[in-house]
C-alpha cells in the first residue's frame, strides 16, 4: 500500500494541477513541490521499513488487474530497486526547485510532465509483473517526449523524436520477449514465478538486453543520448541522466542476469568489450567537447560503461558497486547538469570558451562545482570513488572475463580526471571575460537545490555502509542466480574434461608399461 502511494501520489499531483489550471504560476509550482517533497518523505518510510536480512521482495501489493490477459497489479521492492526508488523521489523535487524560474511558457504542463514522469519511473522500478513493467516503461516516454520537445533547446524536435524512436525500437523487441516468456511461465506475466531455464534463452536475453542497452546507453547505441541531453531543459537532463538511464542498467540486473544466466555468461565477453569501448570512447569524446552539457553527456556514456562492466562481473562486490554507482552517477551527473543549467541561465551560453575566471566572480558556485567535479572523477572520500573502486575490484577478481578489460577500463578513471579537471580549469580559472563580470553568484534557492546533493555525495563517500548493507542480500541473490547455471555447468565440464584426461593418461601409462613389459620379456 505504501509503495502504491509513493508511485501514484505524483499522478495525483498531475490531476490536481490539471484541474487547478487557472491558479497561476506560483500555485502550480507550490503544488508540484509539495507533492514532490511529500512523495520523497513517504518514500523514506520504504527505507526505514526495509528488512535488509532478506532478498525477497517487500512492500508487495498484488491485485487482480486484467485476468483476461493474465496480468496482475503486482509491485514490490528489493534492495536494488529500493535505492532507485529513493533516487527518483529525491531527484524529482530537486528538479522542480531547479526549474523554479526557468520555465517561461506552459509551466503547468512542465510540472505535470515532470510528475507524470516520476510515476512512470517509479512504476518501472517497482513492477513485478512483466506487463505492468512494460506499461510503465512505455508510458514514461510520453512525458519525457514533451519535456524535451516543448521546453528544450533549438534542435529539440530532432532530439526528442530520436529519443522516442530509439527507445521504442528497443522496446518492440522486448515486447516480443515478454510475450514469449509469458507462454513459458504457465501463462502468467508474474516476475516472481519466472524460473529458468527458458527455451531460446539466448534470443530472449538479446530481446531484453538490446532494449536496456539502448536505454543505458551502451556503445554503439548511445547516439541519442548527447542529442537528448543537450536539447533537454535542465530538469529534463537531470532526470534523464539521474534516473532514466538507470532504467536500462536496472533492467539488466533485474531481468537479463537472473532470468537468462547462461546467455548472460556467454554474451559477457561481447558486452564487456562494448562497455570498455564505451568507457574509453565516451571519455575521449568528452574531452574534446566545446559544450559543457555535451561534455557531461559523453561522460555519462563513460560512467555507465563502468556500471555495465560491474554488472557482468558475477562478483557480489562488482554488482554492489554497480548499483551504488547508479546512485552516484544520478547524484553527481544530476548535480553537474544542475550547475550547467544555473550558469546557462545567467550567461545563456554553455560554450567553455565563453567562460574563464569564474572562480573569482562566483566563489560559491566554483566551490560546489569543484566538489561535484571531484565526485564525478572519483576522488577518495567522495561517492564516485566507492562505486568505481568496488566495480574495478570486483571485475578484477572475477573469472568472468580477462583482467585486461579492467586494465583498460581503469584508464577511464584517469581520462575522467583529464576531461573534468581541464574543463574546470578553463571555466573557473584564467582571465575573467568582460561579459562575465556581472554574473551573480548562486542565490539561496540554488544553494538549497545543491545542498542535499552534496550531503549525499559526502555521505556515500565517507560512510557507504548503510547503502551497501541494504542491497547486499538482493545482489547476493542475483550473483548466485548467475553462477548457478552456466559456470556450474562449466565447472562440471572442466571436471569431466580433467577426469577424461586422467583416464587417458592412465591408459597411456598402462600401454607404455605393457610395451615395456613386452620388451622386457623379449
Amino acid at each position: 500500500m505504501l509503495l502504491s502511494i509513493v508511485i501514484f501520489l505524483p499522478l495525483l499531483g498531475v490531476i490536481a494541477i490539471a484541474l487547478l489550471r487557472g491558479l497561476g504560476a506560483s500555485a502550480v509550482k507550490g503544488i508540484a513541490l509539495v507533492i514532490g517533497l511529500l512523495t520523497f518523505v513517504i518514500s523514506l518510510g520504504l527505507y526505514t521499513g526495509f528488512d535488509a536480512t532478506t532478498a525477497t521482495f517487500q512492500n508487495v501489493t498484488q491485485e487482480e488487474w486484467i485476468p483476461g490477459l493474465g496480468t496482475k497489479y503486482h509491485i514490490g521492492i528489493d534492495g536494488i530497486s529500493l535505492w532507485l526508488v529513493l533516487l527518483t523521489t529525491f531527484l524529482t523535487p530537486v528538479c522542480i526547485l531547479a526549474a523554479w524560474n526557468s520555465v517561461e511558457k506552459g509551466l503547468s504542463g512542465f510540472m505535470m510532465s515532470l510528475l507524470a514522469l516520476e510515476t512512470g519511473m517509479l512504476g518501472v522500478f517497482c513492477a513485478l509483473d512483466l506487463f505492468l513493467f512494460f506499461v510503465f516503461w512505455e508510458s514514461m516516454l510520453i512525458p519525457m517526449y514533451f519535456l524535451i520537445g516543448i521546453w528544450g533547446g533549438e534542435r529539440r524536435i530532432y532530439a526528442t523524436v530520436k529519443f522516442v524512436l530509439y527507445t521504442m525500437a528497443g522496446s518492440a523487441l522486448m515486447l516480443v520477449g515478454i510475450l514469449a516468456l509469458y507462454f513459458q511461465n504457465n501463462n502468467s506475466f508474474d516476475f516472481t514465478t519466472l524460473s529458468g531455464p527458458f527455451e531460446h534463452s539466448h534470443l530472449l536475453f538479446l530481446a531484453f538486453f538490446i532494449a536496456f542497452a539502448i536505454k543505458v546507453p551502451l556503445f554503439p547505441f548511445h547516439t541519442w543520448l548527447p542529442d537528448a541531453h543537450v536539447e533537454a531543459p535542465t530538469a529534463g537532463s537531470v532526470i534523464l541522466a539521474g534516473v532514466l538511464l538507470k532504467m536500462g542498467t536496472y533492467g539488466i540486473v533485474r531481468f537479463c542476469l537472473p532470468l537468462f544466466p547462461d546467455a548472460a555468461v556467454q554474451f559477457t565477453p561481447l558486452i564487456v568489450t562494448l562497455a570498455v569501448i564505451g568507457i574509453i570512447y565516451g571519455a575521449l569524446v568528452a574531452m574534446v567537447q566545446p559544450d559543457l552539457k555535451k561534455l557531461v553527456a559523453y561522460s555519462s556514456v563513460s560512467h555507465l560503461g563502468f556500471v555495465v562492466l560491474g554488472l557482468f562481473s558475477q562478483d557480489p562486490r562488482g554488482i554492489q558497486g554497480s548499483v551504488l554507482q547508479m546512485i552516484n552517477h544520478g547524484l553527481s551527473t544530476g548535480a553537474l547538469f544542475l550547475l550547467v543549467g544555473m550558469i546557462y541561465e545567467r550567461r545563456h551560453s554553455r560554450m567553455i570558451v565563453d567562460f574563464g575566471g569564474l572562480a573569482k566572480r562566483m566563489p560559491i558556485f566554483a566551490t560546489i562545482f569543484m566538489i561535484v567535479t571531484l565526485s564525478s572523477i572519483g576522488l577518495p572520500g567522495l561517492n564516485g570513488f566507492v562505486g568505481e573502486f568496488m566495480i574495478l575490484a570486483g571485475s578484477f577478481v572475477t573469472d568472468a572475463f580477462s583482467k585486461w578489460y579492467v586494465v583498460f577500463a581503469a584508464t577511464g578513471v584517469i581520462l575522467a580526471a583529464v576531461y573534468m579537471l581541464w574543463m574546470f580549469q578553463r571555466v573557473m580559472f584564467g582571465t575573467l571575460d568582460k561579459t562575465n563580470e556581472e554574473l551573480p553568484d548562486l542565490n539561496a534557492r540554488e544553494v538549497v537545490v545543491m545542498l542535499p546533493l552534496l550531503l549525499f555525495i559526502f555521505w556515500i563517500g565517507v560512510y557507504p555502509k548503510p547503502f551497501l548493507s541494504k542491497m547486499e542480500k538482493s545482489v547476493g541473490l542475483v550473483v548466485t542466480q548467475v553462477q548457478q547455471t552456466e559456470p556450474a555447468m562449466g565447472r562440471a565440464e572442466k571436471r569431466m574434461l580433467q577426469d577424461a584426461q586422467l583416464v587417458l593418461q592412465e591408459t597411456q601409462r598402462a600401454q607404455r608399461e605393457d610395451i615395456e613389459k613386452e620388451a622386457e620379456t623379449k
Binding site: 483476461g68 490477459l69 520537445g149 510475450l179
Partner: protein, 476 residues
C-alpha cells in the same frame, strides 16, 4: 409458417424502425433537421442497449432457416457498429449545419449502412452476408459523394463505387465457386462439406476470391488504393464512418466465414493472411510517413491498423478472434475521435487539413490538442490507452500461435507508426504557427462525441477488463 422470434432480431428491428421514422420526419419541413440526428442517436442508443443486454444474457439463436444467427459474436459486433454510428452522428450534426447540407438522407443512409453491417455480422449464409455487404456499400457510395457540388467528394463517391463494385463482383464470384465446391452457401454446411480429403480447387479459388473481396472492403494491401482518395475526398464525418464501422463489419464477416465455414482450409488461408498482414502494416505505415494531408495520413494509418487486425485473424485461435474484435472496437473509437478533432480544427477560411495547419494548437486550443494527443497516442499504441491494450492482446495471440516473426514485424511497425503520429503532436505542441488562424467555437455535440471517445480510450486503457472479458466471451 415459420415461427419468428422477434426478440432475437431486436437490435436490427430498432434500427429499421428508426430509419423509417427518420424517413417520415424528413418529409415535414417544419421540423428542425437536427432532430433527425438526435433520432438517429436515440435509435442507435436503444439498439446498443438492447445488444448489450442480449450479450450479457448470452443470447444464442438462429432465424429464417438458419440464415441469420444471433450469438455473442454478432452482438459484440453490433456494439462496435452502434458505438461508431452514435459517435459519427454526434460529430456530424454541426458539420452538416456548417456546410449547409440536407440532413434527412444523410442519417437515413448512415442507418441503412448500419443495418447492412449488422446483417453482415449475423449472416450465417453467404448470400445474407453479401446482401448486408451491398446494403452497407451502396449507402456508403452515396455518402462518400454526399457533397455533390464538391468535385473531390464526387470523385471519391465515383471511385468508391467503381472499385467497390469490382470487389463485390469478386466476392460474389467467390461465393459461386464455393457453392460449386461445397454444394451449399450455408456457413455450417460448408464447414461440414470441406474435409481433409475434399479440398477441391474450386473451393480454394473461391476462398482466394473471398480474400480479395474482403481485402477491398477492409482496405488490405494490395487492395487498398481506393482508401486514401476516398478518405480525402469524402466529407470528413463520412471518412470517419467508413474507416470505422464498415471496416469492422468487413472483418466480422471475414472472421465468421473463414473461422466457421472454412476452418479446414486454415493451412491455406493462414499463410496468405500472414503475408497480407505483414504487407498491409508495413505499406500502410511507411506511406503514412510521407503524407502532409491529415486525412490521407489517417487513411494510410487505417490501412496499417487493418494489418494489425489481420495478425489476430492469422493467429486463428480463440484469443486471436477476441483480440481482433477488441481491437476493432478500440480502433473505431479512437479513429472517429481523431477525425472528430480534424472536423473541430476547422478555421474560418476552410478545414485545416494540412498537418502543418496544426502548428501551435497546443497553446491556443489546449483542450482540442489534448483530445488529439490522446487519440494519436492510442493509435500509436502507447500505454495507458486502449490502443496499447488492443495491440498487446493481438500480439499475444499471435505469439501463442507461434507467429513470432509476424509479431516482430508488427512491433517494429508500431515504432514506425509512432513517428508519424508523434509528428502531429510535435506540430501541435512544439512548432509556432506560421499565420494566426481563427478558430470556430466548439459545437457542443461534437465536444460530447470527443469527450465520450476520450473517456472510452482511457477507460479501456486503464481497466481493459471492461471490454476484454466481453470480447473473450464473444468467440463463437
Amino acid at each position: 409458417m415459420p415461427v419468428i422470434n422477434w426478440g432475437l432480431l431486436m437490435p436490427e428491428l430498432v434500427i429499421a424502425l428508426t430509419l423509417l421514422i427518420v424517413l417520415v420526419f424528413d418529409l415535414f419541413d417544419s421540423i428542425s433537421k437536427t432532430v433527425l440526428g438526435w433520432m438517429t442517436i436515440v435509435g442507435a442508443g436503444i439498439a446498443l442497449w438492447v445488444s448489450i443486454q442480449m450479450h450479457q444474457a448470452g443470447t444464442v439463436g438462429t432465424q429464417f432457416n438458419e440464415m441469420f444467427k444471433v450469438d455473442n459474436f454478432s452482438l459484440f459486433f453490433n456494439i462496435i457498429f452502434l458505438v461508431s454510428t452514435i459517435l459519427v452522428a454526434l460529430i456530424s450534426m454541426s458539420y452538416l449545419d456548417r456546410n449547409d447540407r440536407k440532413q434527412g438522407p444523410y442519417y437515413l443512409l448512415i442507418l441503412l449502412a448500419t443495418l447492412g453491417m449488422m446483417l453482415m455480422a449475423a449472416g450465417n449464409e453467404l448470400i445474407i452476408v453479401f446482401l448486408g455487404l451491398e446494403l452497407m456499400s451502396l449507402s456508403l457510395y452515396v455518402l462518400a459523394g454526399y457533397f455533390r457540388d464538391n468535385p473531390a467528394s464526387s470523385e471519391a463517391g465515383m471511385k468508391y463505387l467503381l472499385l467497390g463494385a469490382f470487389a463485390s463482383a469478386f466476392f460474389l464470384y467467390g461465393i459461386a465457386l464455393i457453392y460449386g465446391g461445397a454444394g451449399t452457401t450455408s456457413v455450417p454446411a460448408i464447414a461440414e462439406a470441406i474435409t481433409a480429403e475434399n479440398k477441391s480447387p474450386l473451393l480454394l479459388a473461391g476462398m482466394f476470391l473471398l480474400v480479395v473481396g474482403f481485402g477491398f472492403k477492409v482496405a488490405i494491401v494490395p487492395f487498398h488504393q481506393w482508401a486514401p482518395d476516398v478518405y480525402e475526398g469524402a466529407p470528413t464525418t463520412i471518412a470517419a464512418f467508413i474507416s470505422a464501422g464498415p471496416k469492422a463489419a468487413g472483418f466480422a464477416a471475414f472472421l465468421r466465414i473463414f473461422m466457421e465455414a472454412l476452418p479446414n482450409l486454415q493451412v491455406e488461408w493462414g499463410s496468405v493472411l500472414i503475408v497480407l498482414a505483414m504487407l498491409t502494416m508495413t505499406v500502410g505505415n511507411v506511406i503514412a510517413i510521407a503524407q502532409t494531408n491529415i486525412k490521407r495520413m489517417l487513411a494510410y494509418s487505417s490501412i496499417a491498423h487493418a494489418g494489425y487486425v489481420l495478425i489476430g485473424l492469422a493467429a486463428a485461435n480463440n484469443d486471436g478472434i477476441s483480440s481482433a474484435m477488441l481491437y476493432l472496437l478500440v480502433y473505431c473509437v479512437m479513429n472517429i475521435g481523431a477525425f472528430g478533432v480534424v472536423i473541430l480544427a476547422k478555421t474560418e477560411d476552410g478545414e485545416s487539413l494540412m498537418i502543418s495547419d496544426y502548428a501551435g494548437l497546443g497553446l491556443r486550443k489546449p483542450l482540442l490538442a489534448m483530445f488529439m494527443t490522446i487519440m494519436l497516442l492510442s493509435l500509436a499504441g502507447f500505454p495507458p490507452t486502449a490502443g496499447f491494450v488492443g495491440k498487446f492482446y493481438i500480439f499475444k495471440s499471435a505469439v501463442q500461435a507461434g507467429h513470432i516473426w509476424l509479431v516482430i514485424i508488427g512491433a517494429i511497425n508500431t515504432a514506425i507508426s509512432a513517428f508519424y503520429y508523434l509528428r502531429v503532436v510535435v506540430t501541435m505542441y512544439m512548432r509556432e504557427p506560421e499565420e494566426e488562424l481563427s478558430f470556430m467555437s466548439y459545437p457542443s455535440t461534437l465536444v460530447v462525441g470527443l469527450v465520450l471517445a476520450a473517456i472510452g480510450v482511457l477507460l479501456i486503457g486503464i481497466l481493459p477488463s471492461l471490454m476484454l472479458t466481453p470480447a473473450q466471451n464473444s468467440v463463437f
